[in-house]
């Protein structure tokens, strides 16, 4: 059991002493996953509102596609993005392989279905009279949609957290398209998950555990925030 106590103690020391390497890797993780979630929000929010509120032919297929997206294996997404941007791929001319933007692209593909699916069910659960009520008070179509989104904002924040949680903890996609490159004291594409794989393989359990602790702390914070948001008092229209 010594291996655990020792590595945890060392991990705490690394985090507490603001170790440069640890913080570089953590910073890139947050940057890549944060950007992916923001872009996912720009795509998934309008898509989710549209799918949640409109009825049209083929909607069921789109909804099924979005829900399938929730179960996309990150490593397959990584493979797909890698092929697209590799030198022989259709987007090879952009020279994106093994760069942070490539990692962002892969994570956008992973995060967007989460945000779309949760937004969809969130706006779908707001009574349709809320939109009609806004229209009846003089809102334009867009303004009425904004009211619905605003009413669903807590659930949409949950969507963002869930999407962020999914991408910051995945290892397959960032490994494939990022390459886990860190050389000469300069971190290029190494994030916390790929760092854990790398350090553990090299026997540096303390460093691996430091990243593990940070990830766990983040996961805990995310879950805590989500339960706080969901468990909060409901809005006024729920009551008659």
């Amino acid at each position: 059991m010594e291996i655990f106590t020792q590595s945890i103690a060392e991990a705490v020391r690394l985090v507490a002493s603001f170790d440069r390497y640890v913080f570089q890797v953590m910073g890139l993780s947050l940057k890549v996953s944060g950007s992916a979630v923001l872009i996912g929000l720009v795509i998934g929010l309008p898509l989710g509102v549209w799918l949640g509120l409109s009825r049209f032919r083929g909607r069921a297929i789109l909804v099924a596609l979005v829900n399938t997206g929730l179960g996309l294996p990150p490593v397959v997404v990584g493979l797909f993005v890698m092929m697209m941007i590799s030198r022989k791929g259709p987007l090879g001319f952009l020279s994106l392989l093994y760069t942070p933007p490539a990692m962002v692209i892969a994570q956008v593909i992973l995060a967007t279905p989460y945000i779309t699916a949760i937004t969809m069910s969130a706006v779908g659960s707001i009574p349709r009279e809320v939109r009609l009520q806004a229209l009846g008070l003089g809102a334009s179509r867009i303004q009425a949609l904004m009211v619905v989104v605003k009413e669903a904002r807590l659930s949409i924040m949950t969507a963002v957290i869930a999407g962020f949680g999914a991408v910051i903890s995945e290892v397959g996609a960032v490994m494939m398209v990022g390459g886990n490159i860190s050389a000469g004291g300069e971190n290029k594409t190494r994030v916390m998950t790929t760092a854990i794989v790398q350090e553990a393989r090299m026997g540096n359990f303390e460093t691996a555990m430091a990243f593990g602790l940070i990830l766990l702390a983040m996961a805990f914070a995310a879950v805590f925030l989500m339960t706080r948001l969901q468990g909060g008092p409901r809005s006024g229209w729920v009551k008659s």
Binding site: L135, G138, E151, W237
Partner: protein, 390 residues
């Protein structure tokens, strides 16, 4: 069109109206149709609401009232048909027209946040100056009887308070037409009556034109000037509230307006408007009504128009009523100050309402022999003629 026509129009319309142009109805709908799948949920030839009037759209569940509401309030588009506000054609795409209306739904549907931000919502959409918003919100809250709640969180409101805030949120817009979809049906009985009283006072004071959707005839009768009764998407009867109540045009209207006694019969004689209608072998009803000899009619008798006396061995009580029937009480149901009584008149059932003290005084109980009398003017004949069905 020839160039002569407009001149003729101008002449004929302006001549009798010395005061100016005739005033267009606040709301008019023509040929309004809305279907969901194969079902025509709304199919209305013509409907209008005069300025300053409150119209109640009355009908059972599934009559298409709420769909009609959404069409008239410009929240949804009809499959076909035209709607005009004050003579101007309008549509659901017409934001300016929609902004001259206000709507209140069955449930308050308040937006998350404070009461104040809910009530100011419509005014903020209209980009009014802050000072004016503050003043109008205060006035609307006062009018709706929730002046003290401006800073309250909507989650803290009771059902009655929430509905009053929803009303204030529509009133604050000072709408030309106010649309109300069952605004009181979610409230407790006591609250409902107060809400109705306040609603009537507010609408009367402001002179707002209003359309009230309701399934409750008491609400329709107590609030509206005119009533439109709907069934299966169509208008069954339209007219002043008192007229729809006292002169239902068919059995459905009579039943919906609270007439429980409707007998089928045919007109035997007719002299100067006094019809004798044979209801059963031994039973003849006299009614002051328009009908033709031989015509099949429904005979409607309002329970409150039936006068009950205890049948005695001696002289029948003096009364001017043309219809006097004796029968046996079948059942008595006392609810509050009134009692419902069903009387068997040799095979046909008559429903009557009397006060609770008279039940005791007359000793009315199942099996008791009673004399029921009804004036010929209180009997209403229902014909199944199709004309005037809109």
């Amino acid at each position: 069109m020839t160039p002569v026509e407009p001149m003729i129009d101008a002449h004929t319309t302006s001549a009798p109206e010395a005061t100016g142009r005739p005033v267009a109805p606040a709301l008019e709908a023509t040929g309004l149709v809305r279907s969901y799948g194969d079902v025509r949920v709304v199919d209305i030839d013509h409907l209008k609401v005069e300025a300053g009037e409150m119209l109640a759209v009355l009908g059972p569940n599934g009559a298409g009232k709420s769909t009609l509401f959404r069409l008239l309030a410009l929240l949804e588009s009809p499959d076909s048909g035209r709607i005009s506000h004050f003579g101007m054609p309008v549509s659901h795409r017409d934001l300016a027209a929609r902004r001259r209306t206000g709507t209140v739904f069955q449930r308050p549907f308040l937006f998350q946040g404070k009461v104040h931000s809910n009530v100011s919502y419509g005014l903020r959409l209209r980009r009014l100056p802050r000072a004016e918003i503050r003043e109008r919100v205060a006035r609307a809250l006062e009018l709706a009887g929730v002046a003290g709640l401006a800073k309250a969180d909507v989650r803290r409101l009771s059902g009655g308070e929430a509905q009053r805030v929803a009303l204030a949120r529509a009133l604050v817009l000072e709408p030309d037409i106010l649309f109300l979809d069952e605004p009181s049906s979610n409230l407790d009985p006591g609250l409902r009556r107060r809400f109705r009283d306040d609603l009537r006072r507010i609408v009367e004071q402001s002179g707002t034109t209003a359309v009230l959707i309701t399934h409750d005839r008491t609400e329709a009768m107590s609030l509206a000037h005119r009533i439109v009764l709907m069934k299966e998407g169509r208008v069954v009867q339209q007219g002043p509230a008192e007229e729809v109540y006292s002169r239902p045009r068919d059995a459905f209207v009579a039943d919906y307006m609270g007439v429980e006694t409707i007998w089928r019969g045919f007109v035997e004689h007719e002299v100067d408007g006094l019809c004798s209608v044979r209801v059963s072998g031994s039973h003849v009803v006299e009614a002051l009504a328009e009908a033709e000899v031989g015509e099949e009619v429904g005979v409607a008798v309002r329970p409150e128009d039936v006068v009950i006396a205890r049948a005695t061995q001696g002289e029948p009580p003096a009364t001017s009523a043309r219809n006097r029937w004796s029968g046996a009480v079948v059942s008595v149901r006392v609810s509050g100050p009134l009692a419902d009584i069903w009387i068997d008149l040799d095979g046909v059932l008559l429903h009557a309402v009397v006060t609770r003290p008279s039940v005791l005084e007359l000793g009315i109980e199942p099996g008791a022999r009673v004399l029921a009398s009804v004036k010929a003017t209180a009997v209403h004949l229902l014909t199944d003629r199709e004309e005037g069905y809109h």
